[in-house]
Symmetry: C3
Subunit: 639 residues, 3 copies
């Protein structure tokens, strides 16, 4: 696994570049990403290009032995373009234009912007496509970040109408699909359809769902066009995009299909702080990140581009953008790096080389401090570079478990949560966490995947199921676990005529006759678990495998297929997974809280994220390994 770094030559005097490049190499870095926000410096005026500095930067960095990953700068259209074509701007849900002055201010539906983006992308690719130092490309930057997938602009409205016309052909078909007979929502033509914002009460969820699909496709199509331009001019180079953590507004599987490598930006402390983790988790893991945040995304993004992935931005110290921004515990930068290796990354690239003393990210740490001295992470990077060299390449093998992540399913849960705290992504994450606490390796796959070589398939959030999926699950010989609301929606976002789980009734004969969303203190206790948030009433000839003390079946089974008819807590996830693993013949290991394991073909990696030293011998079953795995420590054992 390569190590690399993100660098902004335009931020620093040209005189420093060579020293910086040499220092990178000396630290063990072999890759450098540049250029992704440099539009205003490459094209300071419309049509006037200043390539000289970038030519020299690439030469200097590449000449020092660094593989250059070149970014296209479309995430930051410059002010002169915004002034010339204000229709490129996105509009927020409140109907306000999202103005210039930060980043990602463009609307994916703007035809003007797509032309301008293609123009600058072509300019970059044309100039550097065959450059010997340019080993790869990053298209744009962090699609979806800052809630930028959805735009409510006039351009988006026009685009959505075109997309609907293409999808439904006949307005009657749209009216039928959305159930517009409800509340007199009938449309007389595609040109009458509005965006689903600023309505008096909630908009039609089928309309929301189509708008989510449309918006996701706009991102994927934008990327596809830009990737195509680059590929045309730069054959043989890796084309990548850097996706974010916990951003699920667009379909990463669809995006990844157009990329050679799905890269992602890993900020374990920032993500812990910003998302829906409990207060106790936010305190406990404040300086390490929750043990499953990075791993979940590693496994997710490994599945997006045929197994090729990397971490193109790795948090090296405190960031500036979370509500609170602590420093990683000593050892964590090494741990995060080795963790990526254990999950099969091609590279880990730290963000950024040197902390920039100005502008929005002035308080974001780098490997060097503002004064040019090394930040605390630098020593860890140098050490782990040596460790990785000694370790050699790691081969990722198919995991025993496939976890299905279906992006449209996540949008459906947002379009119609039915309970204020029903968060699809949280449910997915908790399933992943439960699997990993049992010591299991996991492949995250799309609903279109071939499951046949897995022992277990887990689908926590799968409201949409098509015939092909049902057929593949029916043919699957391993164990299947379906989460609540599986099969609960038709493609048109209707409740299936035969009730949920709809077509999945072919696999497990039950009907969900009623659902309850519950506030957190309304609880149904069971043996080792408590049900909160969500409870389904099930009609079935089956007897439940597990039930609450007050008689609600919560886990149902027929043959190799199980269905969870509630929001499971950690205890219920564990019980269900242990049961299915037993049937599947997959060995599980109860790991101490805060400890995780991950296997490659060559090694077993054990990571300690908890606050105390742990003895790994009991769960590794190996008397030869150390008895003391310290806090933030990593144990690498032979298989």
């Amino acid at each position: 696994m390569r190590l690399g770094v993100c660098y902004y030559p335009e931020h620093w005097p040209e005189a420093r570049w060579a020293d910086d490049a040499a220092a990178m190499v000396a630290m063990g870095l072999r890759q450098v990403r540049i250029g992704e926000f440099a539009w205003s410096r490459v094209e300071p005026e419309p049509g006037v290009f200043d390539w000289g500095w970038l030519d020299r930067a690439i030469d200097t960095l590449g000449g020092a032995g660094l593989r250059v990953i070149l970014g296209t700068p479309t995430a930051t259209p410059p002010k002169w373009l915004v002034d010339a074509a204000p229709d490129i701007l996105a509009w927020d849900r409140q109907g306000r234009v999202r103005g210039f002055g930060s980043r990602r201010h463009y609307c994916f539906s703007s035809q003007t912007y797509r032309q301008e983006a293609a123009r600058i992308t072509r300019a970059f690719a044309g100039r550097y496509g065959m450059h010997p130092h340019v080993a790869g490309w990053q298209i744009d930057n962090e699609y979806g970040c800052h809630d930028t997938t959805l735009s409510y602009s006039p351009a988006a409205r026009e685009g959505f109408r075109r997309w609907l016309r293409f999808k439904y052909r006949d307005i009657a078909a749209l009216n039928a699909a959305w159930g517009t007979v409800f509340w007199s929502q009938d449309y007389g033509g595609f040109g009458a359809v509005e965006l689903p914002n600023l309505t008096v009460t909630e908009p039609n969820p089928a309309q929301v769902m189509d708008f989510r699909r449309y918006s996701s496709e706009r991102v994927v199509r934008f990327n596809q066009v830009m990737a195509g331009i680059v590929r045309e001019h730069s054959p043989g180079r890796d084309i990548m995009h850097n996706v974010m953590g916990f951003v699920t507004d667009f379909d990463h599987h669809a995006l990844g299909a157009d990329l050679d490598v799905t890269a992602w930006d890993s900020y374990p402390l920032g993500f812990l702080e910003q998302y829906w983790f409990s207060e106790a988790e936010k305190v406990r893991y404040a300086r390490t990140g929750h043990p499953d945040i990075a791993a979940f995304h590693h496994d997710l993004y490994r599945g997006c581009s045929r197994g090729r992935w990397g971490v193109i931005e790795q948090q090296p110290g405190p960031v500036n953008w979370a509500r609170h921004n602590p420093a990683p515990l000593p050892g964590m930068v090494r741990l995060w790096t080795l963790e990526a290796a254990a999950h099969g990354a091609e590279y880990v690239s730290y963000f950024r080389w040197r902390q920039f003393p100005q502008a929005q990210e002035a308080m974001h740490a780098g490997l060097q401090r503002v004064d040019g001295a090394e930040a605390p992470a630098a020593a860890e990077v140098r050490a782990v570079a040596a460790e990785l060299a000694a370790l050699g390449a790691q081969t990722v093998e198919r995991a025993p478990v496939a976890l299905i992540v279906d992006y449209p399913g996540l949008w459906a849960m947002e379009a119609q949560p039915q309970g204020a705290d029903y968060r699809g992504i949280e449910l997915l994450f908790r399933a992943y966490e439960a699997l990993r606490r049992l010591g299991l390796d996991v492949d995250v796959v799309s609903a279109a995947a071939n499951f046949s070589d897995y022992a277990m398939v887990v689908a926590p959030v799968l409201p949409f199921v098509d015939e092909g999926l049902v057929a593949r699950l029916a043919a699957f010989e391993g164990q299947v676990l379906l989460g609540p609301r599986a099969g609960s929606k038709t493609a048109d976002f209707a409740i299936p005529g035969a009730l949920a789980p709809g077509a999945l009734q072919a696999l497990i004969p039950l009907k969900v006759t009623q659902v309850e969303s519950l506030r957190r203190d309304v609880r149904h206790a069971g043996d080792g678990f408590v049900v909160e948030r969500w409870l389904e009433h099930v009609e079935s000839a089956l007897a439940p495998e597990l039930a609450t003390d007050d008689g609600h079946g919560v886990l149902w089974r027929q043959g190799g297929v199980r269905y969870l008819s509630c929001w499971p807590d950690a205890g219920l996830w564990r019980a269900a997974l242990v049961a299915m693993a037993g049937e599947a013949g997959v060995a599980v290991t109860t790991l101490p809280d805060g400890v995780r394991m991950r296997r490659t073909a060559e090694r077993i990696f054990v990571f300690n994220w908890g606050p105390d030293t742990v003895d790994p011998q009991p769960f590794l079953g190996d008397d030869d390994v150390t008895k003391e795995l310290p806090v933030a420590g990593v144990l690498i054992a032979n298989c």
Copy 2:
């Protein structure tokens, strides 16, 4: 009492209508409400009407023996109308147009919309006014729902100016009434007055109060015009509107004066979850609703149309629109139905017949599931239909207690709460709760009511008092209890020159010299009660009947008139009510927590909303009744 149901023939294939009608009748239902959102299907294009389906639906339903209540569809103007006349749309407080895509998007001040609404109402009434199956009409749907009474549109501004000109005649009169001398707010003419939104800090409360009155009158007038059209074409039929729970933005007494029957929509679980109940109450009563929610509204709306009222939408299972949507406890649909009978409803109509699998309310339960099988409520409905038949008609008699609900008074508390948690509606509700926990039946009346036949009059929120009211109270021979801030405002929203309680000083000689709003942890304890939120300093020759330990008088009495000079907790409400009931010769009964009683001329009904079985013998004083009233149980005893 009739049972009925809400039905949407336009949602279902015509071939199902006859079977549905037959099944309704078989279940014991005798009434069906239809049509209230069907504008786009009746008039799919401007001026092009498709009556055929509605003709046939009425024939089918009516032919099966169901009384048809026909809704006018003005709550959902279709898209073609919005596109042709965007000035019909409401604007929110933030100055944004409230767009098409859900419902209630019209502005009551739009003259265009009032013409269009009259046109479609006339079309409905003209066609079906004399139809033999049409037994009644519902005008529009849920006025005020989704915060739609107040609109800040240009039309509303114009309308408000006209209304002010009519009210004040001379701008000097307005300036004097509003005290515009304060902060240089003087207006040179009615055309200069703006709506009270988007000001730098709070707007003038007298202006807000007038805007609230204006907005309420717009609702009442809209309804009056539509009701007049229907009445002209459909003489002898009941004209109704379905009002909501806890919506107090317009004056329901004024609305009810133009209706034959005030109908309301009862969603006990949704209302509990959405309103200001404590966390503990929301958990305790999650699956039953707070014991006083439905009853309070029953008694309130019984007082709006000369005693005629009904529940036109009754929650039959989980809804879709609250933050959390649990299922009613088994037995609750029966309990709610019998409760309505005990309060004198003409009918209870469940919402809806069959769960519709699409659009905004796809997750809202019905009597039938999406698959056409019976939902859990169906069996309860069938059973209670039989029970009601056996029970016979119930006669509502005058209650011993009149509780005054004065809508302008509630608006005043919102226009000037003076303490962040001073909620008039909550204070009203807690008074009602306290009365009912003493086993008392209550009539809710307007401030214009004739009190003479009551034993007790309770007015928790009565800032405005006019001469007539003072005279009626002075002449009243029973016991009166006035809440805090009674008489604290003149009609122009000024503090009375003689201080609060203003003209009520004729009844009880005291002056409120100073008021304090207190955060919840700043407490003044008394014997069996604690004062939080609100405390008045009183100057009086009277000695207080009750005082806090630190010497603040909180209950004052002269003759039959009492005044509460604080926000009372349950203990203080109880103490005050027990004292006045004693003087009034009204017997009280301390009911167990969660138990309520209600008497008709024929029966005593006892309802158990609590989590445990209770023994009703002690408080009924009747050894013959059961000793075990189960959870969600109803005991019907002879008087």
Copy 3:
């Protein structure tokens, strides 16, 4: 010290004026402020003036022996002006026009408004400038109140662009200063710069910082122009403005330079309720105010106009504008008055004479009730007037401690908090509180002050340091305490090349290499203190004077200079201040919780804000004083 009152003759019948004036004088009042919101009554139509009533009011009040402070009415432009020139209105951060209907709706950047404001100010000053009863002027009212310093109007955009052009001359200089190379933010010209609102994610903090400077300067310049007009027409009279508590949006030192007297509006209960005090403090001090709120502002504003200051609005009872509005404890109006005297006020003026029964402040107490009887405060005022007469003039001497308040530094903490709860003003206040709990008198000074006669200088929030400041601190022979983030920003809002504390490294040799913002439950404990919120990692040859148990140095010292590298709690403030006071030879006294002392040249004042009687003998070391200082009591001892 004079006592006075705020009065609105336009609110009352002319027939009452003389009686009111006589009653004021009889109560011991000698000053009256009038006129500051009277524009619409003085100029009811454009160019049509009605001076008669104001002439007579001034004659009546002045004739009764009251010094008249006349307000210019620019805080409330009348409706006819708003209608004629809507460009005078401010725009909020969300891009909405802030409309007419309350106050302070004007935009400081509007050239139209500046002309109109000058016109009306000239009219007032021209008419009354030489009036014998007019002893002083108040320009406008409460700049910044209701978040009105910052406006995002087109006029503000134009003004900001002009200001930037003047500051930077060359757009390249602006681009360099703001680091616009980051995220392609480069501007091609000053006309391309937008205001820093409505961006996709956070705007450039250097841009925000310049906008804050610009906006502050607009306030200062507006006041300067108006003060200049008044001074020209009214030589020899005191020119004042009434600033608010905890409003720090503009530079009060710069404002004060153009005033003769900095007046302020003291609402101890309202401020406690509205700001960031803990829940426990809000309950404990609900009826007294936190003991340091008024004192902090007294000392702050005493430093703004060369020592001349007063309280022009003093809370006399419950106000109307806080979330909760309790009444002051009996004795508090006296205590607050004597406290102002102890801090050297020229006057205390109660707001307002009589409670006005209408409009936005109808619920705001006065010295008279609405019915004209005396409110509870009146007796305290009468008594304290006599006490003050007996006490004689108080001479304020230089305090031993200078506390630096640097407004740009506070804006910097808002432009880039880096942790969600890093509030500069709170940090400042807690330093002040800690000093006062040690019995120390404090002078609050600007960063430009001459420190040489102080024993101690404390600078809790000082991110910007210029050469002059460093030189003054270096030359200073007393003890210096620097708070976290001192010297952390260059003037252009960059991190210093040599890291924080930048130029202050000349005084104390350390570098802040990394900073952590921490959520409240992530704690580092030490001996008698706990670090939360903020922790800096320091590189230094120095050994820390204090460190956490886990080894983080938190207090550093070289010679007389100390640096706090964390957010200190009360324990750490105390430890640091006790240490430096010891070195400085300043005696400290540990006061009981809730007790404060303040010395003049003539007296020692002791105030008891706590809930219990205290014995002041131990900390006064004086056996002759009372042993029982009651709640809300004041002890005045000889020095």
